[in-house]
Symmetry: C2
Subunit: 495 residues, 2 copies
C-alpha cells in the first residue's frame, strides 16, 4: 500500500540538481516583489498580500517539486512548512508563525484520510480486500467481458474503503488481474492481446473511476473538499455529497466502460472459465472466514451506514472513520503497532496536512482572490456555463503536463474554483466537475497515478497504444460525465 506517489519505490535517492531548480524557482518568486493589487480589489480585512505572495512562492516551488520529483512529497511539503515557519512569514512571533504552519494537522479532512488509510491497512492485512476481489471473479468471471465486470464490481466495493487508489489498484487488484491473465495463457511475451491487454487497461481505467466516485477513493480528494469549503460559498462537499453527485455518472461508467473497452480492444479470448476456476481455487485455499475478516467486514458495513446517515446522527465522516479504527484496535483486529507503523497513513498526513494548510493560506492572504481578479478578463463574457465547461476541459487536459494527480489537484483546483466563481459559474457545479475530473483525467497518460504505472508496468500494452486508448477513454469520460452528469446535477439543483 502506498499513496498516490508512485515514483517512491523507483527513485529513493535525492536528485540534487532538480531540487536545486525547485529551490531556485521558489527563491526567485520569493524575491520578486508582490504585484500591485488591481484597483477596486479589496481583500478580506487583515489579509497581508505580501505574505500571501511569499506563500505562493513556497507553494509554487512545492508544486514544481511534485512535478520534477527530486524528493518525495512528504519531505517537500514539510520543507515548505519549515521555511514558512522559520522565516516568520505567517505570524508576528515565531510561535504564531509555527502554529499557523502546523495548523493543517488538526484539520478534519486530513484526519478523515488518515482514518481511511488506517482502515485500508486492516482491509489488506486481514485479507478481506483480496477475498472480495476473488469473489467477484468467481461470480462474474466466466467470459472475458465478465472478468471486466468483475473488476468493476470489486473496484466499486473496495472504492470507499481503500482511500489510496494505488493500494486498491496496485496492491489488491493488479496482482489478481495479472495472475488471471497468465492463467488464461496471455502474458506480455505471448499473446498479450488474447486477454491481458484488455484486462490491464480495463483495470487501470476502472480504478480511476472509483477514485472519482468516492471522497475516500483517493487520498488527495480531500484537498478538493478543503478548497471547496474555502470559497466563501458555504460549500460542504462531504462524503455523501461527493457520492450523491458521482453515483449516477459513476455507475454509468462502471456499466459501460468494460463494454466500451471490450469493443475497442477486441480481446481474442472469450471463454475464461479457466480464470474463474483459478479464483475458486484461491478462494478455497483461503478457507473459512477468519474472525479478523468478519470484524473487518462488520466495521466496513457500519462505516458505510454511518457515512450514509450523516444527516441523522451528525457525526463528521472523519469521526466515523476513527470509530472504525477504534473498533479494529479494541477488538484486537489491528494492533496499535499496526496503526503507528502504518507509514502510508503518516506520509499522507504529512503532505496532505501541509497542502491543506498552504491552500488555506493562499486563500486567507488574498492570493487566490488576486489571481481570480487578474484572470477574470480572460473568461469574461462567455456565459457562466460555457466558462465552467471550458475551465473544466482545460483542467482535464492540462493533466498531460503533470506527472501525478495530486500535483495537478494542488496546483490548479483552488485557482480555477475562484476564477469560475468570480465568473459566476454555479459553485457546486464547478466543484463537482473539478472533483470528478481530478481523477478521471488520469486516463490520459501511463504515468498519471500509482495504479496506472503499475498496470502499464506489467508490460502488456505498448506505451503509444496506452496513450491512444487513454485519449479515447477521455472522450468516453466526457460523454458520460457531461452527458449524464450535467442533466443529473441540474436535477440535484447544483446549477
Amino acid at each position: 500500500m502506498a499513496t498516490e506517489s508512485k515514483t517512491e519505490d523507483a527513485k529513493p535517492a535525492i536528485h540534487y540538481p532538480k531540487l536545486g531548480i525547485c529551490l531556485l524557482v521558489g527563491l526567485i518568486l520569493w524575491l520578486t516583489p508582490a504585484p500591485q493589487l488591481p484597483a477596486g480589489l479589496a481583500l478580506t480585512e487583515g489579509a497581508d498580500f505580501a505574505a500571501g505572495w511569499k506563500v505562493f512562492a513556497v507553494f509554487a516551488a512545492t508544486i514544481l517539486c511534485f512535478i520534477l520529483r527530486p524528493i518525495n512529497m512528504g519531505p517537500a511539503v514539510l520543507l515548505a512548512l519549515v521555511i514558512l515557519a522559520a522565516t516568520g512569514t505567517l505570524g508576528a512571533t515565531g510561535k504564531e508563525s509555527f502554529q499557523a504552519a502546523m495548523a493543517g494537522y488538526g484539520n478534519t479532512t486530513v484526519w478523515l484520510v488518515v482514518g481511511a488509510f488506517l482502515i485500508a491497512g486492516a482491509m489488506i492485512r486481514t485479507g478481506l480486500g483480496h477475498r472480495i476481489a476473488l469473489n467477484c471473479v468467481s461470480k462474474f468471471g466466466k467470459t472475458t467481458l465478465g472478468l471486466g465486470y468483475a473488476t468493476a464490481a470489486a473496484e466499486f466495493i473496495l472504492g470507499p474503503a481503500i482511500p489510496s487508489n494505488t493500494a486498491r489498484g496496485g496492491g489488491v487488484m493488479a496482482p489478481i488481474v495479472n495472475s488471471l491473465s497468465r492463467t488464461l495463457g496471455s502474458t506480455p511475451e505471448s499473446h498479450p492481446k488474447r486477454a491481458g491487454e484488455y484486462l490491464m487497461l480495463n483495470g487501470s481505467h476502472l480504478n480511476l473511476v472509483t477514485a472519482a466516485m468516492f471522497l475516500t477513493g483517493m487520498a488527495a480528494n480531500g484537498l478538493v473538499v478543503e478548497m471547496a469549503s474555502k470559497t466563501g460559498e458555504g460549500i460542504e462537499f462531504g462524503w455523501m455529497t461527493w457520492l450523491k453527485g458521482s453515483i449516477v455518472p459513476g455507475l454509468a461508467s462502471l456499466l459501460f466502460l468494460p463494454w466500451f473497452l471490450f469493443k475497442l480492444l477486441k480481446p481474442e479470448l472469450h471463454d475464461t472459465q479457466a480464470a474463474q476456476k483459478e479464483a475458486n481455487q484461491q478462494l478455497s485455499k483461503r478457507g473459512n472466514w477468519s474472525i479478523g475478516e468478519k470484524i473487518m467486514l462488520s466495521v466496513f458495513v457500519l462505516m458505510l451506514v454511518l457515512w450514509a446517515t450523516g444527516k441523522v446522527h451528525g457525526m463528521h465522516t472523519g469521526v466515523v472513520a476513527l470509530i472504525g479504527v477504534m473498533i479494529l484496535v479494541l477488538t484486537g483486529t489491528e494492533k496499535w503497532e499496526d496503526i503507528t507503523g502504518n507509514k502510508e497513513a503518516w506520509d499522507a498526513m504529512v503532505w496532505l496536512g501541509g497542502m491543506v494548510c498552504m491552500a488555506g493560506l493562499l486563500k486567507e492572504y488574498g492570493f487566490i482572490e488576486w489571481f481570480a481578479e487578474t484572470m477574470k478578463g480572460e473568461v469574461y463574457g462567455m456565459g457562466a456555463l460555457a466558462t465552467g465547461l471550458t475551465l473544466a476541459l482545460i483542467y482535464f487536459y492540462s493533466m498531460y503536463g503533470f506527472s501525478m494527480l495530486t500535483g495537478h489537484i494542488t496546483a490548479m483546483v483552488a485557482a480555477f474554483l475562484a476564477l469560475a466563481i468570480s465568473a459566476e459559474v454555479p459553485a457546486m457545479l464547478m466543484v463537482a466537475l473539478l472533483a470528478y475530473f481530478s481523477n478521471l483525467c488520469g486516463c490520459l497518460t501511463n504515468y498519471s497515478s500509482g495504479p496506472v504505472v503499475i498496470y502499464s508496468g506489467l508490460g502488456y500494452v505498448p506505451v503509444a497504444r496506452w496513450f491512444k486508448i487513454g485519449f479515447l477513454v477521455s472522450l468516453f469520460h466526457l460523454v458520460v460525465w457531461l452527458g449524464v452528469g450535467l442533466p443529473y446535477w441540474k436535477l440535484l439543483g447544483w446549477w
Copy 2:
C-alpha cells in the same frame, strides 16, 4: 526506542475487565450532573461548564486507563477524542466538534516532541548516541566512581537530543552499563554488589535527572509547558527557559548524585580499567566516524545553538527541531521511510496531541477554574510560598500512586497549577517545581518510567532495596532542587 510507556512490550493484549472499569467510571461521571458553580465564580465568557464536566469525565477515564493500562496510551487517548467528537460535546455541529477534538495535532509543542523523536531515531540509527556514550566511559571510566560520572556525562550530552527517556536510558545507556558491569565480573547472579548494583541505580536515577533538565528530555514534558501557557499568566516555559531554571540544580545533581550513591551503596570494586578497555575496544571496532555520524553531530550542535539563541532569530524550538529533521532527510542521513516509519514519533503525536487538547478544553470550559476555586479553602492562609512547597511535595510523593510519569503529569499538573495560582503562589516558581519534580519523582518506585523498569529489570537490585534507595534519592533531590534551586530561582526573579 519507545515512549515513556514502558509496559507496551510486556502487555500487548487488551485487558477487557480493566477497560470496562475505565469506561464505567467515565460513564458514571458523564451521567453525574455537573456540580453547581460556587457563588461568585464567574467563568470566562462563553465557557460551557456542563460540557467541561463531560470533558472531565472522559479525561478522568483516560487517566484511569493510564494507571490500569488495559490498552496502550495511544488508543486510549484516541478513543477519548472519538467519544468527545462523536457525542458532539465540543461544538454545535459534528464538524466543529471533530475539529475541536483534533486541534491538538496542530499544536507547536506536540510538533517539537515529534521533531525531537525523529532526531532521536537518527541519533540511534547513525550510532552517534552509542559512540558518545562509549567515549564518556573511555574518558572517565578508570574507577567505579568514574564510571558513574561517565554515565552522568553521557546522559547530559544525550539529554537534549533524545526526548524519550526510555530511548536514551533504555535504548542507549542501559545496554552499555550492563555490558560494562558484566565485564567487571559483576552480574545479577554473581557479585552484584561488586559494581553492578551501583551502576544500575546510578544510571537509572541520572536518567531521571536529565529528563528533568531538558524540555526535550522526556516526551511528556511538553504537557507541562502547554498547561503553563494556559494559566492566563502569560508564561512561556520554552526550551531555554526550562533549561535556565534547571541548569544550576541539574548540574549540582549530576555532580553529587554519582558520589552520593557511591557513598550509599559502597560498591566493592574500585578499579574498573577492564571496563574502560572494553569501551575502547568497542570504539575501535566502530572504526572511523561515518558521514552519517558527522552530519548527525553537526545537526545536533546546530540545533543546540539555535535553541540557545532563540531570542535572536525568533524561531520556535519546534521549527528548530524540524530544521534538523529536514537537514537529515535532505542529506540522505535519514530516509523518508525512516521518518514515516518512526512508530514512536507517531505514537507520541497521537497521545500527546490528544492530551494537550483535553487539557486545553478542561481549562477553556472552566473546569480547572472550578477545581481551583473549590479547593482554595484547603490551602488558604498558609502563605504563598508554603502553599507552593506543600503542593509540590504532595505532587512529588503522590507518584507512589501512579504507574507512570506521564499519567501523573496529565492527571495533576493543570489542577495543581491553577490551585497554586489562585492561592497567589508565584506562577513561574510553581511551574518550575512541577516541571522538574514531574521527572525527579520517578526515583520513588522501580516501575515509574521506561528506563527505570529496564534498569531494575536487569536484576541487580532487589525490589525492596530499590524502593529504599529510591526514597533516599528523593530526599537528595529535594535537598538539591529546593536547597540550590529555590535561591537560584529567586535570583532569576521567578518568585
